[in-house]
């Protein structure tokens, strides 16, 4: 027998470079960013004078940041809903013993292999609404040719924000009970975000399709047969037997897509930029501009820390749950 102690020591030695790297480059750096966010560091030269939560408080008075929060909520909700619904539908369709299933699967999945930058550049031209001089272009032009001209609109150039008007009955009521803040454009939906959601869904819905398809394939055939024998229709069978079994898949998809949508950056940079009146701006982009173009490091660090906290709230319980259930098995 070899010396077990020596192997133990070697095993720790093997993973120590990675453990050290993660300790410094993830946790050490997060601590540094967290500390910077509480400092006065607003120029190139670091100034670590402690100022408490001032940078955070200031964020919530900045027009761009409040717009970003609104856009993130819009994007996350719509993007998740679209990916889950489309992914599930495509997976169910593909699960019907389809000829050429592999081809379809690849077609739905290939956008995953492409950079968000490429997606952004291509969809920017596809959704480019055109100008009065050039006439309609992109998808608008398709609509026009198909006789659906009424569907043409400004896509990501449309600055409209759907929100509750302060003049409406409900708005006046809210103002009276001290909730007038709910009638500002910061509590609303930026319609320009729909274009970003469309491009992101094009890229990522194949992922949910693949996950759901794997989940469907794991449902035992006997269960389905039993339901059919009991006289269940196909719809009932999916509704009462299959869908409940797919809940863990949905949870994973929500976590993975949710954290992607909170971090979204590349796609917005290449497709739309901040948009008219920050109609398509997102926190990650604001952080980038503030920090690396504006040299306001403390402010940028505050945005980054907020992003991290939201992602951690989403991911940490999931990680703990996954590791624990794995340990039980």
């Amino acid at each position: 027998m070899r010396d077990i102690k020596r192997d133990r020591a070697l095993s720790l030695l093997l993973i120590s470079p990675s453990v050290l790297a993660i300790a410094v480059f993830v946790y050490g750096f997060i601590a540094f960013t967290g500390y910077s966010s509480l400092s006065k560091w607003d120029a190139l030269t670091p100034d670590f004078t402690f100022v408490g939560l001032r940078n955070y408080a200031k964020l919530f008075t900045i027009d761009r940041f409040l717009s970003d929060l609104r856009n993130t909520v819009t994007f996350t909700v719509l993007f998740l809903a679209a990916c889950l619904v489309i992914g599930l539908l495509l997976a169910i369709l593909l699960d019907q013993r389809i000829k050429g299933e592999g081809v379809f699967r690849s077609i739905f999945l290939f956008p995953m292999a492409i950079s968000f930058i490429v997606t952004g550049v291509v969809w920017r031209w596809l959704l480019n609404p055109g100008t009065t001089q050039t006439g309609s272009s992109g998808v608008n032009l398709l609509f026009q040719r198909a006789g659906l001209g009424f569907l043409r609109w400004g896509w990501f150039t449309d600055p409209t924000i759907w929100h509750l008007s302060a003049d409406s009955g409900l708005g006046a009521f809210l103002a009276r009970i001290g909730l007038g803040g709910l009638t500002t454009p910061y509590v609303g939906i930026s319609v320009a975000m729909f274009s970003v959601v469309l491009a992101a869904t094009w890229q990522m819905s194949g992922y949910t399709m693949a996950m759901y398809l794997a989940g469907l394939r794991a449902v035992p055939d006997e269960l389905r047969e039993a339901a059919r024998v009991d006289g269940a229709t196909e719809v009932q069978m999916y509704r009462y037997i299959v869908l409940p079994l797919l809940q863990p898949v949905t949870l994973s998809a929500v976590i993975v897509l949710g954290h992607i949508s909170l971090k979204i950056f590349d796609l917005v940079v290449s497709m739309t930029g901040p948009g008219p009146a920050f109609a398509t701006d997102v926190p990650a982009f604001f952080m980038f501009d503030t920090t690396f173009r504006g040299n306001n490091f403390a402010q940028g660090a505050a945005i980054a820390t907020l992003l991290l906290i939201v992602v951690a709230v989403l991911v940490v319980p999931y990680l703990r749950y996954t590791i624990r259930t794995e340990a039980e098995v």
Binding site: I15, S18, F29, F32, I107
Partner: protein
């Protein structure tokens, strides 16, 4: 009499249900084809726009097929045009290769060692170490960018390709460790025990048993890492500021933001930037799927 009616009804019912089944088949395929058209629409646009000659390019005719095979757009996207002051993507394409290949190899090797230890040489707290590592996969990188830039400057790696390679190796550790740990967890421990009795140590077992049988794991991890490093934009734009060291995603974004570059050239450039990972997907899609599913923590 009644018997015939009964069988008639039965056969009627059967034909009806067969017709219904046939219609639902048609509807299923129709839905799939429509969905496929949606996914392929941007590809169609990429190809036809890239093929058009400069005279043919106009927003009003953007959906029309090109008159023939013109490669002007691709040539200009690749080589640039000195007369118009456009820099081509050729150099950046090469940068991305020089970046992605060693970074992929480096993070795969580290991940394989970590996965081996965390799956087969568990120690007190190894699951905690694993969880803490995994969290690094989900963090918004914004939360580490500021100290990262400062650290790279101190290390003398800022603004260089080796610096970017280093960054991708470090932040690739969580995902590669995850995939390898799940892979090694599926290998029977008896195999290890047997070789331990034969006198093999931790390194011997790794070199003679685990490493050789983990080739499929390496393929999955390397494909995953290659595509995510090739497609990365954030680290590229933060770490490399000089155009001659920038990876292709950063250069493409600059090209797309430039007013002097025609949009057909932008499209051609997009296709060039997408080509390597697309080819990997087309030829090795099976492994790509596995990495994808592993990324959602379900080994």
């Amino acid at each position: 009499m009644s018997a015939t009616t009964l069988s008639e009804t039965k056969s009627k019912l059967r034909t009806r249900s067969r017709v219904q089944v046939r219609w639902s088949r048609v509807a299923t395929y129709a839905a799939l084809v429509i969905a496929a058209l949606f996914y392929l629409l941007p590809v169609y646009m990429l190809f036809i726009t890239g093929m058009k000659s400069f005279q043919e390019v106009s927003l009003a005719r953007m959906w029309d097929l090109p008159s023939g095979f013109h490669f002007d757009s691709y040539l200009q996207a690749w080589f640039g045009s000195e007369a118009q002051g456009i820099t081509g993507l050729a150099h950046n394409f090469l940068n991305s290769l020089v970046l992605a290949v060693p970074a992929t190899l480096g993070s795969a090797i580290l991940g394989s060692m970590n996965g081996y230890v965390l799956a087969k040489w568990k120690f007190r707290g190894s699951d905690l170490v694993f969880t803490l590592m995994l969290f690094g996969m989900f963090i918004p990188y914004q939360s580490i960018l500021i100290p990262l830039v400062k650290t790279l400057q101190v290390m003398g790696l800022y603004g260089s390709l080796p610096g970017l390679i280093f960054v991708h190796i470090v932040y690739g550790i969580p995902i590669t460790t995850l995939i390898f740990r799940n892979y090694y967890a599926g290998i029977p421990t008896e195999l290890l025990e047997a070789s331990k009795i034969d006198g093999a140590g931790i390194l011997g077992i790794y070199r003679h048993i685990m490493f050789p049988i983990s080739m499929p794991g390496f393929v999955v991890v390397m494909i995953w890492q290659f595509q995510s490093i090739w497609n990365d934009f954030l680290f590229g734009v933060i770490v490399t500021s000089r155009p001659n060291v920038q990876p292709i995603t950063v250069a493409l974004n600059n090209m797309a933001g430039s007013y002097i570059v025609e949009w057909n050239v932008q499209m051609a450039g997009s296709l060039l930037a997408a080509l390597p990972t697309l080819l990997v997907f087309i030829f090795l899609g099976r492994y790509f799927m596995r990495g994808l599913l592993a990324g959602s923590l379900k080994g």
